[in-house]
């Protein structure tokens, strides 16, 4: 018995089926007693070959595929893809103004939904089982809003090349306004429950510290990068769509530990509510009618030969699509630049030297979705 407890390197398999790996991810940990010496993520359990599938479908059909990558924030996936195709197609594909504001509205609602899911599941990882249900109560409201708009809750396929599928139904903006009011009242509650909780802070402060240089070197983006103190948000630094006309702050962290990563996402929810309210105002003022939600596009889109890269600030980071067109209606190559995939690359570095009990806290704070990691 003592042999097994001596400090020789033990391999621990954080298996694919696991309550806390947020999907099917296998991490092969090598331990020296309680301390982790190396971590090797093994992924691919959810690989569906989206890049290969895209080489047999035309540009509008691929929108359906993009929903299913990061299934927790599908509006944002659609957004990135449509931006890329619109860049590829040229100025004729520029969406009308109303469509742009609708896009931003649903994208920000999706960001709130995604961060609520992170909030709930991170609480479960740390052991607090109740905030999960509160977060999902709010998420239900957002999913109901999505159902009003496009009929689907999770894999929305709402965006089209050159705009959105249809205009907002009547009464939608009032409901979104109500939701924003309700959400603003929930933030102090969540702060009490989790952010200010002594035990939560004890388990996440100064754990899994990532510094700015390493984050940039490893291509980390999104809230993980902002938690290190580096203020970079694609919506502000490389504005796309109508983000340059909207006012919002970009929250940053200080030390790059788990608590900062959690806190940045929490504050981002607040900012998203702010953006949503501005969009509601603008949408009330803009005229509706035919041609305001979809640009005039040919029935079968054949972009000129060339390549384009469109990226957005997704809830997980820098999500981009690199499309190569050969002049036909089916793209020659679609490369997906997935933030969860790249952010997961920091895990081996981040886990070194920490104890086994911290693995779940650190892995949860990176906020990956396996659909995006595996594509």
């Amino acid at each position: 018995m003592t042999e097994a407890l001596k400090t020789e390197e033990m391999t621990l398999n954080l298996g694919p089926q696991h309550p806390s790996t947020h999907g099917v991810l296998r991490v092969i940990l090598k331990l020296d007693g309680e301390v982790i010496t190396s971590a090797d993520p093994d992924m691919g359990y959810l690989h569906r070959g989206i890049e290969k599938l895209a080489e047999a479908r035309d540009y509008t059909q691929i929108i359906v595929l993009t929903d299913r990558m990061d299934y927790v924030s599908s509006m944002l996936n659609n957004f990135a893809y449509c931006l890329a195709v619109e860049k590829l197609s040229g100025p004729q594909a520029k969406p009308p103004e109303r469509a742009e504001y609708i896009r931003v509205l649903v994208a920000e609602l999706q960001r709130i939904a995604s961060h609520l899911l992170f909030f709930g599941t991170y609480g479960i990882d740390i052991g607090a089982l109740t905030p999960f249900l509160y977060a999902f109560r709010e998420r239900e409201m957002i999913l109901d809003l999505f159902e009003m708009v496009c009929g689907a809750r999770l894999t929305v396929s709402y965006f089209r090349i050159g705009g959105v599928y249809n205009d907002l139904p009547p009464g939608f903006l009032e409901k979104v306004q109500d939701f924003c009011g309700w959400m603003k009242g929930r933030f102090p509650e969540y702060q009490d429950l989790l952010s200010d909780n002594v035990i939560f802070k004890d388990r996440t402060k100064n754990i899994g510290i990532l510094n700015k240089e390493k984050a940039i070197a490893f291509g980390v983006s999104g809230p993980n990068l902002r938690a290190t103190g580096f203020k970079y948000d694609i919506r502000k630094n490389e504005p796309y769509s109508v983000y340059d006309k909207l006012e919002f702050d970009v929250p940053v962290g200080t030390t790059g530990d788990c608590w900062d990563r959690y806190h940045v996402r929490f504050e981002e929810m607040r900012q998203s509510v702010k953006i949503t309210e501005q969009c509601i105002e603008k949408l009330r003022a803009l005229p509706t009618g035919p041609g305001t939600t979809l640009a005039k596009m040919p029935k079968i889109l054949k972009p000129p030969a060339g390549d384009a890269y469109g990226h957005v600030e997704s809830s997980r980071g820098d999500l981009g699509f690199y499309l190569v067109s050969d002049g036909t209606e089916i793209p020659h190559r679609m490369k997906t630049r997935r933030p969860s995939f790249v952010n997961l690359g920091i895990l081996p570095e981040l886990l070194k030297g920490w104890k086994v009990a911290d693995v779940i806290a650190i892995l949860g704070s990176i906020d990956i979705v396996l659909g995006e990691v595996d594509c």
Partner: protein, 355 residues
């Protein structure tokens, strides 16, 4: 006012009379009485978790903004019975390389000390199954025996991770027994006796006719001792925020993983009975046991105990988990020093009241 104790003593007298009629010596009746009491206590401990599990599920549901079991019986009251029947009907699996007898006996070794510890719980006035003159000491010593069962469960499953989980659990329980015992010491000093009935009756009077003389109100000794005892009891029951050895079934399996069916039900039963036991003792020691106006003492005792149980559940579903090393640090560096301070303060109070 009709007390349960009066009813029981009436039944006992009646039984003695009947026995005298039939020529059976009163000693036999006494032995019969003890058998009946043991049966009642065991039955109570077995049936109590049915109610407690339902309570836990309902409390957690309402905290989480949902309803909980609603279909089986009125508001899910029969849900636990249904789950119990399901557990009884499950196949009993013993891992192949496991140490069979260790594996089989572990649930018993966990449950039996808990049942035994119920012998000195004062369910009301004059309603203690066995009024030992070392009552509280008996409670501390017997409830420590459950740890052996946990280690047996961890070892008997032939699983590296179960063993580690069981050892961690055992380490946590053993460590938290110390502040638990030391926090009882001031109460014993204030009451002047280890006997449970004496401790309860020492709390029966009132200050100024209004505030009952419960030990929790003896500032500053009482509240500190109460909080330490409660915290240590939560840790003893392996509940959140102290449940990393169990919930570390995220990484390392908890000790009861390889159990199925009836044996798993025993572990479950033991956890809830243990929780009720801790709250019952806390009620007896700090909240005056069965003291209360108008209604029978058993009712007050149950009300106070169930209130503490509700508090345990509230804490479980609100607060995240402590990491194992933080848990130990909290015990040795925070609870234990405060225990010593408390004993010192209590001795000052006692000396002050004597002189």
């Amino acid at each position: 006012m009709l007390e349960l104790a009066d009813i029981f003593s009436m039944i006992y007298e009646f039984a003695k009379e009947q026995a005298a009629l039939y020529g059976i010596s009163p000693r036999v009746v006494n032995i019969g009485r003890m058998v009946v009491i043991t049966g009642m206590v065991t039955g109570l401990v077995s049936l109590l978790p049915i109610f407690l599990v339902w309570m836990e599920r309902k409390v957690s549901a309402h905290i989480q903004s949902r309803l909980g079991p609603m279909r089986v019986g009125f508001h899910g009251a029969l849900q636990t019975i249904a789950d119990g029947i399901k557990l009884f009907l499950k196949e009993d699996i013993v891992p192949r390389e496991a140490d069979r007898w260790v594996h089989r006996l572990a649930p018993l070794v966990v449950v039996v000390p808990t049942i035994m510890a119920f012998a000195i719980v004062p369910f009301g006035s004059r309603l203690i199954p066995v009024d030992l003159n070392i009552g509280i000491l008996y409670f501390l010593s017997v409830s420590s025996l459950g740890v052996v069962g946990i280690i047996m469960a961890g070892w008997g499953s032939n699983n590296k991770y179960t063993l580690l989980g069981g050892l961690r659990s055992a380490a946590q329980i053993v460590s938290y027994e110390i502040p638990r015992a030391l926090s009882i010491l001031p109460v014993v000093m204030l009451a002047g006796s280890l006997q449970m009935s004496a401790i309860v009756s020492a709390q029966e009077l009132k200050w100024f006719g209004i505030l009952p003389k419960w030990f929790i109100f003896y500032f500053p000794v009482g509240p500190i001792a109460f909080l330490i005892f409660l915290t240590a009891s939560i840790a003893e029951c392996n509940r959140t925020p102290f449940d990393l050895p169990e919930a570390e079934s995220e990484l390392v399996a908890g000790f009861s993983t390889e159990y199925s069916g009836l044996k798993f039900a025993f572990f479950f039963l033991a956890e809830f009975a243990n929780m009720f036991l801790g709250c019952a003792i806390a009620t007896a020691l700090f909240l005056g046991g069965g003291s209360g106006p108008v209604l029978p003492s058993t009712f007050w005792f149950l009300a106070k105990t169930l209130f503490l149980v509700f508090l345990f559940m509230l804490i479980r579903w609100t607060v995240p988990r402590l990491r194992v090393d933080r848990l130990m640090t909290f015990n040795w560096k925070v609870l234990l020093p405060w225990c010593f301070v408390n004993i010192f303060l209590a001795s000052l109070v006692v000396l002050g009241s004597i002189s």
